[in-house]
């Protein structure tokens, strides 16, 4: 009557369970109204678009300034909101599981701790990807509208100026008139094209892609910290510090090479050797300054991100599998 089940020797790692965990994590976070950020973002973008267009700089190429300001607002907000989501949402994942003791019921099932941990990470990663995509689409839309407005205005101004000149000189030969107007049209098209180029859609997409990978890495670092932390405040503070120091890696490298002070050198060395270079993901400034960055090199940055994701998650796993729950 009573039975002893026949058990296999091992239970293999299973992506299905990771996915189940990930979706559950995603639902959990969306119900916590993380997406309220989106509304703030939308207001910010619309505000920026209208604010910067009423602001006049008295410069000849105003479109450069206007587009720059809108792009700075959009990319800045995406990166900041993203970082806040990446740190705060991730930092509370494990503490919430522990506090609500939901983790007991999950790990009492035939679930590897790695599956649990990866599920949590993939959930956050999905959330970040969705947020960045939503904010990014909105942002690109605003840039597109601005681009259309500015280039249309430039185009018509140029054409109208030429037509005015033609109309103002009645003794102009018809062929000359034709020529002047044709030249004006070419110039107007060039001007519009120049504005489209300044809008830099591809550069924006590149910048957002690298930003997303940076956010994933930040989330992974936060998860790694919370895999041994006992307080959420500790996790948030430490993640923020890692975030800042990660951006200082290039400076630390330089400092390490040139500094004479032993203590400073030691600190710079630690940062240099053990922290991922988060500044490497900030490509917007370089792109907008006109330094070309072909997709292949963007891919190199992304693979650097993947490499550090692997390192960080490995560390998180090593710590978490030993953790007492």
């Amino acid at each position: 009557m009573s039975t002893t089940p026949a058990l296999p020797d091992v239970v293999y790692f299973n992506l299905g369970r990771v996915w189940t965990m990930a979706l559950n994590t995603l639902i959990e976070m969306t119900r916590q109204k993380v997406f309220y950020f989106m509304i703030v973002f939308a207001l910010l973008m619309i505000g920026a678009a209208s604010f910067f267009s009423i602001f006049s700089f008295g410069e000849e190429a105003q479109y450069i300034t206007q587009l720059k300001f809108i792009k700075d607002t959009g990319l800045g907000a995406i990166s900041v909101f993203g970082a806040i989501i990446a740190v705060v949402a991730t930092a509370q994942l494990l503490p919430a599981e522990l506090e609500n003791r939901t983790i007991y019921t999950i790990l009492a099932k035939p679930v590897h701790r790695l599956e649990f941990l990866l599920g949590k990470f993939v959930g956050v990663a999905l959330l970040l990807a969705i947020s960045v995509t939503l904010m990014g689409s909105l942002f690109l839309g605003v840039v597109f509208i601005k681009d259309q407005n500015l280039s249309a205005a430039t185009y018509h101004e140029t054409i109208e100026a030429a037509e005015g000149a033609v109309a103002g000189s009645p003794d102009m030969k018809p062929e000359t008139k034709q020529k002047v107007l044709a030249e004006a049209r070419t110039r107007a098209e060039q001007g519009a094209a120049e504005i489209h180029k300044t809008a830099g859609y591809q550069d924006i997409v590149k910048a957002m892609t690298t930003t997303l990978f940076k956010l994933w890495l930040v989330a992974a670092m936060t998860l790694m910290l919370s895999s041994f932390a006992t307080s959420m405040v500790f996790t948030v503070v430490m993640s923020a510090m890692l975030y800042f120091s990660g951006h200082l890696v290039p400076v630390a490298q330089k400092f390490y090479a040139t500094s004479k002070a032993p203590l400073g050198q030691l600190m710079a060395g630690v940062v240099n050797w053990f922290l991922p270079n988060l500044a490497a993901f900030d490509v917007a400034d370089d792109l907008f300054a006109g330094d070309p960055l072909p997709w292949l090199k963007v891919l190199k940055i992304l693979s650097y991100g993947l490499f550090y994701l692997l390192v960080t998650l490995t560390l998180a796993h090593l710590i978490f599998r030993e953790r007492e729950i």
């Binding site: 009557m1 009573s2 039975t3 002893t4 089940p5 058990l7 296999p8 020797d9 091992v10 239970v11 299973n14 299905g16 369970r17 189940t20 965990m21 559950n24 639902i27 959990e28 119900r31 609500n100 003791r101 939901t102 007991y104 019921t105 999950i106 790990l107 009492a108 099932k109 035939p110 679930v111 590897h112 030993e322 007492e324 729950i325």
Partner: protein, 289 residues
């Protein structure tokens, strides 16, 4: 036959705080639960019942000793393939409904599709939550959470159930239902390990029990055996006239024995429990390394 649970010399020392103070929660515990039996783990607060369960599930690591489930070491995921666990005061994702919760746990156990939905309906029926199936758990009462916890533990139809205070917070009717459920599970050949304070309930359903105190096993055995007082005898008679009572008392004293009481004497699990625990008083201070 491979025991459902086999625990040998299991010891757990918790570190507390920054100073190197420790709490000895479990002290060389040996335990063996055979397949098909209902085993009760009793003990006062802090005696190490929950610690035993957590060790058996690999949630924490033993300081010494080992625990095996169906012959597999408890640290391995394999050992959990046929285990259902109900933690004490269970608490689930507040944002999921009852049905969603069960679906989630079912998927974690590798179930999916129609068999899973069917199983979920079955379980909701079984624990009496069919009407609340589509309400988020945030609005569940304590007893309802306990029921959904029980359903969750059974979702993949495991052979072994570890229940930490399954009737806590459940009303008397529900508590009776849970007891009946356990008895039914035994009839189906399942093994159940349950922790409880509610002694009468344990008495009703358990084949064997073990009493823990301060991390040590103080009694173990079949409920019937433990409750039988070997030195005392209880004769239950019907319609004995008042006069005969005095005669019997005399007769007993002639044999050199004594009559303790003539009313219906009862040794309950309750008093047994108290005796066992009192024998160890006063409690020792926290262990230092």
């Amino acid at each position: 036959m491979t025991p459902a649970i086999e625990i040998k010399g299991l010891t757990k020392r918790y570190r507390t705080g920054l100073r190197r103070e420790t709490v000895l929660a479990l002290d060389h515990l040996d335990l063996r639960v055979e397949p098909g039996e209902v085993y009760g783990l009793l003990g006062p607060n802090g005696s190490g019942k929950s610690t035993t369960l957590k060790l058996a599930l690999g949630l924490i690591r033993a300081t010494a000793g080992e625990a095996k489930i169906f012959g597999k070491p408890c640290a391995s995921v394999v050992s959990r393939l046929h285990v259902g666990f109900l933690p004490e005061n269970p608490y689930f994702y507040r944002f999921l409904t009852g049905a969603e919760t069960l679906m989630f746990y079912g998927r974690l156990c590798g179930m999916s599709g129609a068999p899973l939905s069917k199983r979920v309906d079955e379980l909701l029926q079984l624990v009496g939550l069919t009407n609340a199936a589509s309400r988020p758990l945030a609005g569940y009462s304590k007893g309802m959470l306990q029921r959904i916890g029980l359903a969750q533990a059974m979702v993949h139809d495991p052979q072994l159930l570890l229940l930490d205070e399954p009737t806590a917070g459940v009303d008397p009717i529900g508590s009776k239902e849970i007891r009946d459920l356990i008895i039914r599970l035994r009839a189906m050949g399942k093994t159940v390990l349950l922790c409880s304070h509610l002694l009468t309930q344990v008495q009703d359903v358990c084949d064997r029990i073990c009493i823990l105190n301060q991390g040590r096993k103080v009694r173990e055995g079949r409920v019937d055996d433990l409750l039988r007082d070997q030195k005392r005898l209880c004769i239950t008679v019907e319609s004995l006239p008042e006069a005969a009572r005095a005669q019997i008392a005399e007769w007993v004293e002639d044999w050199g024995a004594s009559v303790v009481s003539i009313e219906n004497p009862q040794t309950t699990l309750e008093s047994l429990f108290l005796d066992a625990v009192k024998a160890q008083q006063p409690p020792t201070p926290p262990n230092k390394p």
